[in-house]
Structures are given as C-alpha cells and as structure tokens.
C-alpha cells in the first residue's frame, strides 16, 4: 500500500516550517527523525496527568506512572517480537551497547578476583571480539575499550567495493566470544545478512549482538527471528523523543550479566557492605528512569504500527530506488555504498567531484534541504572508501519523490555554484 505522504506530513508540525527563507526539506532522519503531534502530546499528557517516580511510592500517581512505564515497555517489546522482560530502557543506543560491553569487562574483572561469574562473559588474552568495518563508532569504540581492558583482540569483517560485507574476510573462529554487527549501515545503507552472521557466531560458541538503530525504525524486525542474543536501537530515530534507547537481550543472558550502572531501583537487598541485584530488566535500570519518554515512544510505536512497518519499508524502498537512479544520472556524483536498492535501506551517501561534502551540504541547506555531512560516526568506513567524509540523504515515511527531486536539484546547484559541473551539463536552475 502506498503511503499517503501528504496526510503523514500533516502530523509533523516541524515539517511545516521554513528554513533560510524557504520550505524545509528534511532528509536527515538517519541522524534523528521528526516527531508527530501524537508523540509530543503523549509526553505532555503524562506530565500533566500521571507524573510520578516509578517503582516506588504507594500513592495513586506513582501507581499510574509505573503502570504507564511498564505498559510502554510491553508495547515496545511487542513491536520487535520480544517479551517485556527482555527490554531494558537506556538513555540511548550507545548506552545499550556499552551496557553489554561492560558486562564483559566487569565479568572479566570479577573473574580475575576469583568471584564466580558466567563464563560466557569472561574474556582472556587470545579471545577475540568480531565487528565489521562499517560499524557506527557506537558499536566499535565500546569493544575497543573492552579489548584494551581484557587483553582480547578486536577483529572485523571487511567491506567490498560496492559496500557489502566481505564474507570472505570472516574472522569468526573458536576463540570468538561475541560478534557485534550492524543490521543496516548508517553510512552505506547496506542491509547485512545478520541471520547468517548470527548462525556463524553461535557455531563458534560466541554470542551475537546486532546494532538495529537503522533497521527497527525503517522495516519490520522480529528480534528472535534474527537469531541474535542482543540488539540495541534508539527511540529518537523512530519518531520517539530523545533520551531513550533500547536494549533487547535474551532473558536468560540478561540475568546472567553483572550490573552496569548501580544505585537505586536495581537492587534486591542492600546491606552496608554488600548488596544483591534485581532480576533483569530492573537490574539495568538504576535511578529514576525516563518515564515520559517511554510513554511517548510507545505512542510513536503505535503510530508506526498503524501505518504498518511493511508499508514504511516499501515506501522507503521506492524512494531509495528513485533517488539512487537520479543520483547516478548526475555527472561527477558518486554513490558510496551499494548502487542499487537490493538489500539496502534508505541511507544514501555520496561524494561530488571537486567539492568537499561540507560545501555540498551547506549549499543544499541554503535551498532548505537538510542533509548530514561528515564521517557519520563511521570514520573507518570513510577511510575504506578513501573519502574524508560524505554527504548523506536519509528519507523516512514523511518524505516524497518531490523531496528527492529537491535534493538532486540542490546538488546540481552546488556543482554549478562551485563551477565543477562539466560545461556540457550546465542547465539553468
């Protein structure tokens, strides 16, 4: 079913505004999505009617707030085929990844002190952790840190020239303890064969983690069907507010992990010299959590479900195909990532001959077209393609073909302005 983009756009107040004196064309949803009114209203309504600290207090508001928070967990879990005891609320996806990375370094620390921990989280020199060359820094640096603390080695899948994972470079072996892979690359748009990779991880006796920041907002995802043990994604990229991220983990594994942040709410019993911890997910939610944001995110999930994630994915696929074709017609413009829309999401990176991506983005902005420029927190991926940075267009459910046309026209205008358009290609804009 084709989306009614006009109707959807009318739900997003920010899309009505002008920037630089012209109407906004927002094409940076890979960085953060815009929010529909229902999400903003839900957050406000929570504060106006039910605000209280959750999981403590016996008054009516505390009960309502706790109920709203836990109901939100159930809705968000259901969205990805999980049960609510498998969903941990974090401040963002980066924290969710760190939570699991720290489980490894904390368990390793405790093991070295002779404290009994689950051996699946203990790392020794000679062990390795496997990522890919197309990871966002959020799924790279935490593992570099774990390796530095434990003596484990970081290994990675390389990337082919057309932006796919190089399966020939598969470094998974019997010493691999965890494989952490991005589902859809935020810079290349590539959708990786995570089911296969998770199978490889499990065959080697390793655990599997998937960074789903760019997949859950854009396509139907059943976390169990991926074969992963853990996944992380963020609320703000899927029409929800900032300040809330999600960790999904198999219940048995979450309960085998040492805590990450400690303090109130995450305990079972506390004495002056030692404490015991609550079962997951509470074990990983120290302090008063982001209740209003959880409520608003559950509303965003309801909004997406009403439209249908199949429809969102189909709409984005059509836009991506159209955009890739139009960009490849432009002389001097080169796609960084898969050139076709097969197994590919809507993040489209490109470079322009003779222009730095910042200058391309700046001139696009002067025409109201908001895109991301830079290394997209994937600096090693840029190095792989020998570019200092890229310009990236990431459409979402509220974008239309007209937005793709506006982006393409803005790129040509940038080329004209910088005088890098071949003479024969000059057109009056």
């Amino acid at each position: 079913m084709a989306l009614n983009v006009d109707e959807i756009r009318s739900d997003f107040p920010i899309l009505k505004r002008d920037v630089r004196g012209v109407p906004l064309v927002y094409l940076d949803s890979g960085a953060t999505s815009q929010k529909p009114s229902v999400v903003l209203d839900a957050e406000r309504a929570f504060y106006e009617t039910s605000n209280a600290a959750v999981h403590r207090g016996a008054h009516a508001l505390a009960e309502e707030a706790t109920d709203a928070y836990e109901s939100a967990r159930e809705v968000i879990a259901g969205f990805v085929g999980a049960s609510s005891d498998e969903i941990v609320f974090t401040k963002n996806a980066t924290e969710a990844i760190n939570l699991v990375a720290y489980a490894f370094s904390n368990a390793t620390d405790k093991h070295r002190q002779g404290i009994e921990v689950d051996p699946r989280f203990v790392l020794r020199p000679g062990d390795n952790i496997v990522v890919t060359e197309m990871e966002h820094h959020a799924n790279l640096i935490p593992w570099q840190e774990v390796c530095a603390k434990t003596g484990a080695t970081l290994k990675w899948f390389g990337i082919t020239a057309d932006g796919r994972l190089d399966m020939e470079s598969n470094p998974i072996d019997q010493n691999t303890k965890i494989v952490s892979v991005v589902h859809q690359s935020n810079i290349l748009g590539t959708i990786n064969p995570i089911e296969d990779i998770m199978r490889m991880a499990h065959s080697a006796g390793a655990l599997g983690f998937v960074d789903m920041c760019q997949s859950v907002p854009h396509m139907p995802v059943d976390v169990h069907a991926t074969g992963a043990d853990f996944a992380a994604w963020s609320g703000h990229k899927m029409l929800g507010p900032t300040g809330i991220g999600l960790l999904w983990g198999k219940s048995e594994l979450l309960n085998a992990m040492p805590p990450f942040l400690s303090g109130g709410s995450m305990i079972e019993m506390v004495n002056m010299d030692h404490s015991t911890y609550a079962p997951a997910p509470q074990r990983f939610e120290a302090g008063v959590p982001m209740v209003a944001q959880a409520v608003a995110l559950a509303t965003a999930v309801g909004y997406l479900e009403q439209i249908g994630m199949d429809n969102v994915a189909e709409h984005e696929h059509e836009l991506t195909e159209y955009l890739l074709n139009r960009l490849q017609e432009l002389p001097g413009v080169h796609i960084i990532g898969p050139p076709n829309a097969i197994d590919r999401g809507s993040a489209v990176s490109f470079v322009v001959d003779g222009m730095h991506p910042h200058d391309v983005g700046h001139i696009m902005d002067s025409r109201g077209v908001a895109v991301r420029v830079g290394h997209h927190c994937a600096w090693p991926t840029c190095r792989r393609f020998d570019v200092p940075a890229t310009t990236r267009i990431t459409p979402y459910l509220y974008n239309s073909r007209a937005d793709m046309d506006a982006a393409v026209e803005a790129i040509v205008a940038a080329q004209e302005f910088f005088g890098v358009l071949p003479e024969s290609e000059k057109v009056g804009l």
Partner: protein, 154 residues
Amino acid sequence: MSDDLYQEIILDHYKNPRGVHSLDHALAESHQVNPTCGDEVTVWVGEGDNGSLDVAYVGQGCSISQASASVMSELVAGKDAATVSKLEDAFMELMQSKGNLQPDEDVLEDAIAFAGVSKYPARIKCALISWMALKDARIKAGLTDHASDIDEEN
C-alpha cells in the same frame, strides 16, 4: 545563494591555494583536526628574515577550511610575532561576532571575506582550524609576543 558565506575570494583561495608546502627549517609544527568533519591541517612555523615568521601548511577539508589556511599563510607572511599574534586575535574576534562586526580590511585584508562564516556556527571551526594550528605552532616555536601571548603561556 550562500553568497554571504562563499565570497569570491574564498572560492579563489580554495581553487588556487597559496602557501601549501612544508617548511624545512621549521621550529615547530601543529597538526589540528576537526573530529566532527575530518578537516585536517598541519602548520609549520619558522624564523624568517628580520624577526619575521615563515609559515607553511598542508591540509585537506572543505572550501572554508582550506581557503582560510591559504588566506592565513598569505596574510602572516613576513610579519613579526607581535603582528601575527594581533592578527590571530582579530580573526578570532571576527569569527565570534555572529555577523555583527565590520572587519578592518587594512588589518585583515582578504580574511575579511570570512565575516559571513561567523553567522554559521557549524562552519566557524572550519575557518579557525588553521589559525589555531598557527598559534599553537608559533607558541611551541617560542616565537611569541610577550604583551599579547602572556595569557596563553600561563
């Protein structure tokens, strides 16, 4: 379109950069990166004739960062540490002006073309990166002016 940012002088320096080389007799160098976008510049500072500074650079990045480095190297060539220190301050002041400062062309020459950059917070660092490298290299080289550099040294 973006005329306030991309002055003709900037595009000219971007396409025909001046001062791009390393310096054999450099007393110090400074390598600066802008981690948000990957702009890079290395500035070398040495002693020239009659107490003047020799300055050279290499870099890669957007038109603003590269043009700014080119303009800087031309502007400070042959000037002494005290004058260069004052130019650094004047350029910094211009970049912090949010578009509300009329720059003195007699002092900043071609660098006045960057006045419009100060209205775009995301691009100010691009224009400043080479100037920050210059100041860092100059202070490392001991080519300082005690009146104006005293704050940085402490």
